[in-house]
Each structure stands twice: as C-alpha cells, then as structure tokens.
C-alpha cells in the first residue's frame, strides 16, 4: 500500500467524537405527518391560534410540492416523510426555575459536548462569555444569561417563548425573509418547526457577548426542524454562533432548519456556524441530512450581514446562506469551509442578491474533498437593474485529497446593471507534495503538515470566526482530515 493510501485509510478510520447518545426521558409525537401532527405540535407548545393557522397554511402548501431531487449535485434515496417523528422533547414536569431542576443527564450531555449551561463567568474575562440557547431534539432546554441581556433590552430566548411573549415581533418578522412558499423544506419547517432561538437587539445596542445556539439531535427516528430569527434594529450589533452534533446511528435523520436575519439601518449581524452533525460511517451508512434554508436581508441602509460556516458533518449538506442587499451601501459576506470525507456529499454556497445602490458582497469558499465524497460549491450573484455600483468578489477554491472524490463549482452570475463590477475566481488543486516535504524537512510529520497546510488554506475563513469557535474549528478540521494527503 502506498503511503498516500495508508494515510487516506487513516482518515477514514477517524471516529466521530460526538457520537454518543444520552438516555434522557423523552416525550415524542407518533411517527408520521398529517394535519393532526401539526396540531399536536402547536398544542404541545400551547400556541396561539394565529400560529397554528400559519403552520396549517404552510403544511397545505407543502402538500402541493414535490420533493426537490434533481438540481443539486447530491444523491440519496427518497425520504419517507411518514417515517419521521416530528416532535421529541426531553420530559419535564414543570417550568424550570433554575439549572438545578434540569435533568442531570441532560446537563452531562451538554458538558460532554463542551457546552456550559452554567452562567459562571470565565476567568479569562467577560468578553469571552457566551450566552447559550441549548436545543435538544425539538425543544430549547435552557437559555443562559437571559437576565443579563434583558438589562440592555436584548431579547434572547427560545422561539416558543418568543411566540408567547413577543407575538408582535414574531408576526412582523417570521417568514419575512424565508416565506413558507420559498422551497420544499422551508414549507415543511414552517409547518412542523418545534423550537429554535429568537433574538432581538434593540436600537443602538451592541450585544456585549456572543449569542449562541447549540443544536443536538438525540432521539432516534426524529427530524429536527428548528427556526432561528434574529432581528437587529437600527445601529445594533450581534455576533451569533451555532453549533450542531448528533449521535451515531445507522439511520439517516433529517434536519431541516430555517434561519432568518433582518438588519435595519446601520445594523450588523455576524452569524457563524460550526456544523458537525454525525456524517455517517465510512460506508456512508447513517448520518444527518442537513437541508437548511438560511437567509438574511439587509433591510436598512449601511447594514451588514455575514455568514461564516465550517461544515464538517452531515451525510448530506444542502444549504445556501444568502443575503438580500436591499438597503443602500449594505454589505453581505459569505465565508465557508466545507469538508467532505468518506461518502459525504455537500452542495453548499450562497446567494448574494444586490438590490440597493453601492452594495458590496464577498464570497470566499474553500472546499476540501477526501475519500469517496463529493463537494460542490453552488452560488448565485445577482445584480438587479438599478443596483448601481454594486461590487462582488468571489473566490472558490477546491482541494482534492485522493482520486476517488469530486470537487465541483457551479456559480451563477446574473448582471443587469452596467455599473456593476463582479469578479469570480475558482481553482482546484491538491496539497503539493513539495509543501509536505518542506514541512517534513523541518521536523513536522506528514499528518501535522497536512493539518497545517489545510488550516492555512482555510485561513481567510477561519479568521472570520470568533476566537473560541476558531480554535474549535481548527481542531475539527484536523480531526476530519487526520493524515490525509493529496
């Protein structure tokens, strides 16, 4: 066996670190999906009538749609939507008053994932504090630092709670960026979404800490359909982090989330994701189908939205975090690292829709394919007529490791305004043997050299992540690609 193959063998042997499942008492809806299921979920959440109506409307619309199967560069068997549990929640008997009342198994689960649900400030100082909304299966189990944030007028709570406590905001913003008619999975999500996070930053407030949602699928046979809604009012700023893991199971589990971001005048939202859902085993058995719709709208002038994602998990990833640049001088960005290994498939990218004047967008996508995987960048840059002086720069690089994988680039560039300047560049390459040898000659072994080179290759993207996340992401990259050589 050649050295290269040996090393490839080693990566395929790398274990998924978060593959344990926890024995938490869970309440689930019966398998399958009909109006009854939608009503069941709504009822469980004690939702007002308007929300139920909205769900039903979305559900009825969903019934008219066909499962999208052809345009993305991914392959998988048809999903049996009647074989999914649409609601699973850790049992609780009463409202939780303090952390002490949370199921210790659940706390242990999050501790094992490295997520602290305790509000103690870290020794390193206040800046690095993160407020967490922890979502397990279908529901939010705990949101930390709520009170601290409330002092500044920031609302950070579970989506269910927001429906109860802030119905006017939900009514105003939910579905305003991703309407249920947007696509198949957006319609499904609007019908059966169970929980998620809601965040509102009032006028002129800079959120003093990173906000974060941690998603965990635990129960077998369930789908996770969460919704996140972030609204930054005039001049507000927030940095938002999202992390995800799931147990190792032979079955494929569906995750179909919707994230909406709205920024008003002069506001800025940074959204970072480290997606590490269970990717399936090396034969491609099991793993999460990650079919997610994420979109933000720069509604006000001078507002900014940036998406940063490090995608290492999921059997299939299908997501295109997008920005609609409506306000004049608004700025959109998409920074992505997508790693696929074994039999993983990723079809991911972004859409930058320029509507306002002097709008700018940046796309940096780094794809890394190893094993038998397929990794595609698919992106749209659209400059509408009248969007004068729009600028876009896109850079899409692919790195191939081994000769059994595929790396693809499918950009769509649509320009209807002559003042636009749009540049797109893409490259495909492998790690240079001379680079590895150079590292070897300085005493660095090949595995480390690959990790070093890959991290260097992804640097522009990793630099966009908040410190804590960047470290995590770097480790994750090293684990995902341990020992691989191109």
């Amino acid at each position: 066996m050649s050295k290269e193959n040996q090393l490839l063998e080693e990566i395929t042997g790398t274990e998924y670190k978060y593959g344990f499942s926890s024995d938490i008492e869970t309440e689930t809806a019966p398998k399958g999906l009909d109006e009854g299921t939608v009503r069941f979920i709504s009822n469980k959440k004690n939702e007002p009538e308007w929300m139920l109506e909205l769900r039903l409307k979305a559900f009825r619309y969903w019934l008219t749609l066909e499962e999208p199967r052809h345009w993305a560069h991914i392959e998988y068997p048809r999903i049996d939507f009647q074989d999914i549990i649409y609601y699973a929640a850790p049992k609780k008997n009463k409202e939780l008053k303090s952390l002490d009342e949370v199921d210790p198994e659940l706390l242990a689960t999050f501790a094992k994932l490295g997520i602290s649900l305790e509000e103690q400030k870290r020794l390193s100082g206040v800046q690095s504090t993160i407020a967490v909304d922890a979502v397990i299966d279908s529901v939010s189990v705990k949101t930390t630092f709520k009170e601290t944030l409330a002092e500044k007028g920031i609302i950070f709570c579970s989506f269910s709670e927001a429906v109860q406590e802030h119905p006017e905001l939900i009514k105003q913003y939910m579905g305003s960026v991703v309407p249920y008619t947007d696509n198949y999975y957006a319609a499904l999500n609007a019908a059966v979404f169970s929980d998620g996070s809601f965040c509102y930053i009032p006028k002129g407030v800079r959120c003093p800490m990173e906000l974060s949602t941690y998603f965990r699928i635990n129960t077998s046979g369930t789908g996770q359909f969460e919704r996140t809604l972030i609204v930054a009012d005039e001049g507000a700023y927030v940095s938002y982090l999202e992390g995800c893991t799931a147990p190792m199971r032979d079955e494929n589990q569906l995750h179909a989330a919707v994230v909406e971001i709205i920024t008003h005048k002069d506001a800025e939202v940074k959204y970072s994701t480290v997606q590490n859902w269970y990717p399936g085993d090396k034969e491609g058995k099991g793993g999460i189908y990650n079919f997610v719709t994420k979109r933000g709208i720069c509604l006000g002038d001078n507002s900014k939205i940036s998406w940063t994602q490090v995608e290492t998990g999921s059997a299939i990833t299908w997501k295109y975090p997008s920005v609609i640049l409506k306000g004049n001088n608004s700025v959109g960005a998409f920074y992505s690292v997508a790693v696929t290994n074994n039999k993983q498939q990723a079809d991911t990218g972004t859409k930058m829709i320029h509507l306002g004047r002097n709008t700018r967008s940046t796309i940096i996508s780094k794809g890394i394919s190893a094993g038998f995987s397929n990794n595609s960048y698919r992106g749209l840059v659209r400059i509408a007529k009248g969007a004068t002086n729009a600028r876009n720069h896109s850079q899409c690089d692919s790195l191939l490791m081994g000769d059994k994988c595929g790396a693809h680039t499918f950009p769509y560039i649509e320009i209807k305004d002559k003042t636009a300047i749009v540049e797109h560049e893409a490259t495909t390459s492998k790690i240079g043997e001379d680079q590895i040898f150079y590292c070897n000659q300085r005493g660095i072994e090949t595995e480390k050299a690959v990790a070093l080179i890959v991290n260097g290759y992804c640097k522009e993207v990793l630099n966009q992540l908040p410190m804590e996340f960047a470290v995590e992401a770097q480790k994750l990259l090293a684990i995902s690609l341990e020992g691989s050589v191109g």
Binding site: W71, K385, S398, L400, M401, G402, D403, K404, C405, G406, A407, H408, T409, F410, P411, Y412, I413, E414, I415, K416, D417, K418, T419, A420, I421, V422, E423, H424, E425, A426, T427, T428, S429, K430, G486
Partner: protein
C-alpha cells in the same frame, strides 16, 4: 399513435413541429441508413420535447418564443450566383469555397476539392453513389441525439450532409471556407449538417460563416457540425456570425479529439437576433490540446449564449477557454462553460476565462462557469468578471487629447484583443479586426 400524441401534447411548444416532421421525413433524400437515423432521431425528439424553463442548460436562453408557431422546412431552389457571394468572402484569402444553401450543398457554388487529391467533399447524393465506410462509422456517432433536443431535431430533419474528409498525413495549406447560407424569408427551420473527419497527422483550417440573405426575422437555423480530429492532427476552426442580422441560430459543434491532437476554435458573434452556440469537446486520448476562444459584440435586442463543455476523459490534456463580450442597448449575453474532468484524467490543465463589458443600463450578462472535477492531480481554474469600461483609462486617454468616442472605441478594441490576436489566418484576422472596428465606432 395515441401515445405519441400524448407525449406531443406534453411538449406544447415543440409539438407544433411534429406533424410537419412526420411529413418531411417521407420526402427527404437518403438511403435506408440515413432514413433510419432520421426516424430514430424523431422518436428521441418526441420524447425529449423542447427544453423547458426548468432545464438548467437553457435557463438563460428560453426557447419557447422560437416555437410559438409552426415552422416549415425549406425545399427551396435558389438563384444565387458566384457574384452574389463576393461580400461574404475574406479579402485576400485564397480558400476552397463550400457553399451550403438552406442546408443543402450547392455544388455549383462550391469549389472542386478534386484538384487536391487529399481532400474529399461529399453530400448525400455522392455518398449514395460511392458509399463511405468512414462516413457510416462516424456520422451521428459523437453528436448524440439523446444529449440535446436540438441535436435530435437536426438529425431528424437534415436535408443534406456535407462531409469533408481529410486523409492521413495531409497538411492542407489552403483554408476551407464554408458559407452556410439561409435564403428563407419566413418561419422556416433550416437544419444544415456537416461532418468533418480529419485523419492522422494532418492539418486543416476551416472557416464557417453564417449568412442570412433574406429578411429572416422569423427564421431559425439549427446547424450541427460534427468534427473528429485524428491523432497528431491539428485543426483550426473559425465560426463567424456576421452577415446574419435577424436570424435566430442554434449552432452546435461536437468535437472528438484523438491522441496528441490539437483543436483551436474561435466563435465570433457580431450579428444575429438570437444565437445559441453549443460547443462540446471530448478529449478522449492523452495529450490533447484545446483552445476555445469566443467574442461577441451585441446591441439592440441581440442575445448570444455561448455554451461550452470540455470533457477531459484521459490524462495529460490541456484546455483553455477565453471568452470576451461587449453588450450594448438591450442585448443579453450568456457564458455557460463547463470543465469536466473524469477520474482517469489526471494531470489535466484546464482554464477558463470569461470577461464581459456592459455599455448600457438595459444590457444584461449571465455567467455560469462550472468545474466538475473527479481527479485530484489536476490544475483547473476559472475566472470571470463583468464590469464597465475603465473610467480611469478613459480619462487618461482623453487627457492625452484623444476624443471620448475614439478613446472608448480604443479601449473596447483593446478588450477584444486577447481573442483576435489568436486568429492565425492573417487575412481573416484583418477582416475580423475591421468588422469589430466598424461595430465599435458606430
């Protein structure tokens, strides 16, 4: 019969053609093999229908508008003479002239290639007399009827085939100049068909002009050219779309390259109402080299879609795509280029560059440069940019006393330079330069 009607109903826009096609097939010339090929193609066209809006390959060039009404298939006789062709020739270029009128080879308006024993020119009539094994083997072998409905349509409806055969070890100095003339005036559909087979270690230069003599406002030309470049051979192929104002044109070129062959092509689109250029290269052996160049300068409501696919199947090949477009008024352009590298095609070097300039508020450009890579030891890249004239450069020129209009023309001309410079037939290059200059200063 019932089933075919149902299928026909499903493909509403294309369906209007089907009754006509059925009749047409009974009237066209050709031996049993040719008739069989046509029948099979019609069946395939029936099944495929015309590309619908959702079809990714036709996303930016919907075809429905071309098929709102029925179309007839010309069986015309013409009264053109050699003198009528003078405006379409390249001044100062000595070439073999081949004239195709409404899809049929015109022997009287074509030069005898017989003086050059190496070259052979056939049409369906001569193939009837002297059947060719090479023709039988290669005709329709590369342009697969299932790959695109317009390939199926052409194959179902071609009147004639122009077959040019270049034997082994033949270096043909004199270019072959093909005039593909459409005389039709109304809602006709013309289906010219060419097969060029180049043997081993040969060299050939071909120029193909698309010409519409009539008003042609409603006319659609669906041309298909198949090219096979034998091992060690070089072919230069220039497609010039200039004298075809108002014409709607689908021009498909399907190229197959054998070992160590060289294929170098230019597609220059200056006139025409609606043009779709399909250019597919299959590099099916090692050490092939391919250069695809394209230039379009559009105004009014013109639409040009350059659709390329370079299919790298074997190791150590190189391809290079270079496209430039200038769009004015309400014109729209498309560049949809794909580099496909199969698992076997290690050490492929494939590049793609598409640059476009928008001159008016109403022009639009859609670009889809794609890479689909299944081999790891490759170097592939694409770059694409769309923008305006460089204002700083414009100012610089004006500050040196050059008038705004000439400065603009100068810069645009410079923008097209990369493509024009690589035209290797000098007389043709001069002609194209003049045409471009004329376009840019008016």
């Amino acid at each position: 019969m019932n089933t075919s009607t149902t299928i026909a109903e499903k493909i509403t826009p294309g369906a209007v053609l089907l009754p006509e096609l059925d009749v047409l097939q009974t009237t066209l010339a050709g031996n049993e093999q040719i008739r069989f090929i046509r029948r099979k193609a019609l069946k395939s066209f029936r099944l495929q229908g015309l590309p619908e809006r959702k079809n990714e390959e036709y996303k930016y060039s919907p075809v429905a508008a071309l098929f709102r009404t029925g179309r007839s298939f010309p069986a015309s006789t013409h009264s053109l003479t050699r003198n009528d062709l003078t405006p379409f020739l390249v001044p100062g270029m000595d070439a073999f002239l081949i004239t195709i009128i409404d899809g049929k080879l015109s022997r009287e308006l074509s030069d005898e290639l017989k003086g050059t024993p190496a070259l052979q020119l056939h049409d369906l009539a001569s193939l009837e007399e002297t059947p060719s094994a090479v023709f039988q083997k290669h005709f329709g072998a590369d342009a697969l009827i299932t790959a695109d409905p317009f390939i199926a349509l052409n194959t179902a409806a071609f009147r004639d085939v122009v077959f040019i055969q270049v034997p082994n070890n033949a270096r043909i100095e004199k270019p072959i100049h093909i005039l593909n003339i459409v005389t039709a005036e109304g809602a006709e559909l013309v289906n010219p068909r060419i097969l060029i087979q180049v043997g081993r270690n040969s060299a050939i230069q071909v120029i193909e002009n698309f010409i519409a003599i009539g008003k042609a406002e409603q006319t659609l030309c669906n041309a298909l050219t198949e090219i096979r470049v034998g091992s060690g051979s070089t072919m230069l192929f220039y497609k010039i779309q200039d004298h075809c104002k108002n014409l709607s044109l689908i021009s498909t070129t399907q190229v197959y390259q054998d070992e160590q062959s060289h294929f170098d092509t230019h597609t220059v689109s200056l006139s025409g109402n609606w043009i779709r250029n399909n250019l597919t290269i299959v590099a099916d052996a090692e050490q092939c080299e391919t250069h695809l160049n394209g230039l379009f300068i559009l105004n009014n409501h013109q639409h040009v879609d350059n659709h390329t696919l370079v299919d790298h199947r074997k190791p150590n090949c190189e391809s290079n795509q270079l496209y430039r477009g200038i769009l004015d008024d309400k014109s729209t352009g498309v560049f949809n280029g794909k580099i496909y590298v199969r698992p076997d095609a290690q050490k492929t070097n494939a590049y793609q560059s598409s640059k476009n300039m928008l001159l008016s508020d109403d022009a639009g450009m859609n670009t889809k440069p794609q890479l689909e890579i299944y081999a790891d030891d490759v170097k592939c890249s694409h770059g694409s940019s769309t923008g305006q004239l460089d204002e700083d450069a414009l100012f610089y020129l004006r500050a040196r006393g050059i008038g705004a209009d000439s400065a603009r023309a100068l810069l645009m001309f410079a923008f097209t330079r990369d493509v024009i410079n690589t035209i290797r037939i000098e007389a043709l290059r001069t002609q194209v330069e003049e045409l471009i200059e004329k376009r840019l200063t008016h």
